[in-house]
């Protein structure tokens, strides 16, 4: 009971925040930015035809999307590593007696 009581309002806040995000982005549907997605291109074709079961990769090729996930997440890790390194260098420079 205590668990439900403690987590009820945080859950409500999370759900309300999610709806705020959705309603904030919904008006984008009627902008020229949205129209850019609708006129031709690969996305428009995929949306029209649907992904379908035929688009599913099988065998060894089924692992390829995992490489995409790993690569994108790896770029994030790399950004952080570079950012942290730069921050450390700046801090070292700031705290050095010469500076």
């Amino acid at each position: 009971m205590k668990l439900i009581k403690d987590n009820f309002w945080p859950t409500v806040i999370i759900i309300v925040a999610a709806f705020i995000v959705i309603f904030a982005f919904w008006p984008l549907e009627n902008t020229s930015f949205a129209d850019g997605f609708r006129t031709g291109g690969e996305i428009a074709e995929t949306a029209e035809e649907g992904f379908g079961e035929n688009g599913r990769l099988t065998g060894f090729a089924a692992l390829l999307p995992m490489i995409k996930v790993a690569a994108l997440m790896g770029i994030g890790v790399l950004f952080t590593a570079i950012g942290t390194g730069v921050a450390r260098l700046i801090n070292r420079f700031r705290s050095s007696p010469a500076a």
Binding site: T11, I14, V21, D35, G55, R56, P65, V69, M73, T80
Partner: protein, 162 residues
């Protein structure tokens, strides 16, 4: 009395341990959700709906941190904590958008519930964009919490106490 004596004492799990298990489950779910070409669209869509539960649980387990940092956001706060909080907020927005756009371009889950929607290429494009951005941001999120992940793994998975 004898029954009490033979009863095995229940091992209470620490909050860190629970957080670690939820996070492992969440990461596996996240990777699976982002492989629709391998899992197929129906599995992708149903896993995405299920993914909402551990995602909310992940936020709830750190709710005290979220509340305390939000309160001090415009006051004195270490730079790393501030960056972390902003990053978490952006990840939340991206995940909500990815889930929402994924729902309104649903090809299997919603039709199975009797709801048929015409797919708008704009929402399809936004779904791809937000999903890719989320993967990038999750990489940053993992790297920023690397020391916690490492120590929790050493303690609870490899059972090594420092």
């Amino acid at each position: 009395m004898a029954a009490i004596a033979t009863e095995k004492p229940k091992k209470k799990r620490s909050l860190t341990q629970i957080k670690l298990y939820v996070d492992i489950f969440l990461l596996i779910g996240f990777i699976l959700v982002n492989m629709p070409q391998s899992t197929g669209i129906p599995v992708h869509e149903w896993i995405s709906f299920l993914f909402i539960l551990p995602l909310i649980l992940h936020i709830l387990l750190d709710w005290q941190w979220v509340v305390s940092v939000t309160k001090r956001m415009f006051g004195r706060l270490p730079g790393e904590v501030r960056v972390n909080h902003i990053l978490d907020l952006v990840i939340f927005v991206m995940m909500v958008l990815a889930l929402f756009t994924g729902t309104i371009i649903s090809e299997a889950a919603l039709p199975a519930m009797g709801i048929n929607i015409t797919i708008d290429p704009f929402w399809q494009g936004m779904h791809d964009l937000t999903a890719n951005l989320t993967m990038l941001l999750i990489g940053i999120h993992l790297a920023m919490h690397w020391s916690w992940i490492k120590s929790a793994f050493q303690r609870y998975v490899f059972k090594r106490n420092k």
